[in-house]
Subunit: 69 residues, 6 copies
């Protein structure tokens, strides 16, 4: 399976916080950084996301902004 | 200046590819990974993005999906 | 600090409605209009968003659609 | 016709810049501010967007970030 | 009223699940497929979305990714 | 491979229009409808998208708006 999104970052779930509709998922990256995702609670539960699970953060290039000092 | 976007990843511009309206910017992350961004050509030129420049990739949490094997 | 997002609208927080994961923030614009934002509750709390606070609504150009009568 | 997007800002087209796939549309707001949109060239041509045309900028609340000084 | 979003899919509301800020809306498509949307609770209530209501799912082309086997 | 995006619609490529940075891909759905996607040219070429190829349109629920008459 290949997806057009250009950014696929491998990491491990650090924390899962469920809301009623959405769920926040904090992901630890190997280099020490972190990625935060908000997906639907349905997906978080279906994918059995829990602390320690290996996941990929997937981000479309057009959703990445750039900031400079 | 603080922004609500939860994902701010520091890196260095690796490559800039201009289109007529958009520009693709490939960013090298310290850990060896890469982030690809598509912003408007106007912004890329205004921010003088070029190979080697230090930048931050900024991504709203609601734009991060999760994939599992 | 400069960000590639082309739309940065200055305004004042009118109302903050927290959910469990997300927070809705209604922003009054100087011209009398209003902008509604949904960000993570974590960010809304970290940025101490409350009625009357001066903020900027930041919107990437590729997230703006156009409608005509 | 009613749409769920919470942000619908009335304005006038100031400039249209076509690319091969995308088109950048700069919109003047009554209060003097400006909104920049990137839509597909197909839509820009179908909607006959040109300088002076009255339009609405439509933005989903979840695509609005917040920045503070 | 014409909108620049290229994807407008007609369907019927199958289920509405309210959160505190967001609402998930499941939409049945005529061909038997389904589309899931997350909008603000405010919009879902204002539009009186309920099972059986005829609606359109509206999606900007730049928010559609592509996957292949 | 499982992805959190709730909307995965199977179809066939009808047309591919390359720009310099982006590519527009029109996808025919089995029920007769159509989905239009804009992805990076790099992804469109890497995935060898061409007329007749079987693909999936992938859309995050938070990117689906709702419209009513």
């Amino acid at each position: 399976m290949k997806i057009s999104a250009r950014n696929i970052l491998k990491g491990k779930v650090k924390e899962v916080k469920h809301g009623m509709v959405d769920t926040e998922v904090d992901i630890e990256l190997p280099g020490g950084g972190e990625i935060v995702s908000v997906i639907t609670k349905h997906s978080a539960e279906t994918m059995k996301l829990a602390k320690g699970k290996e996941v990929y953060a997937v981000i479309k290039a057009s959703n990445v902004m750039i900031m400079v000092d």
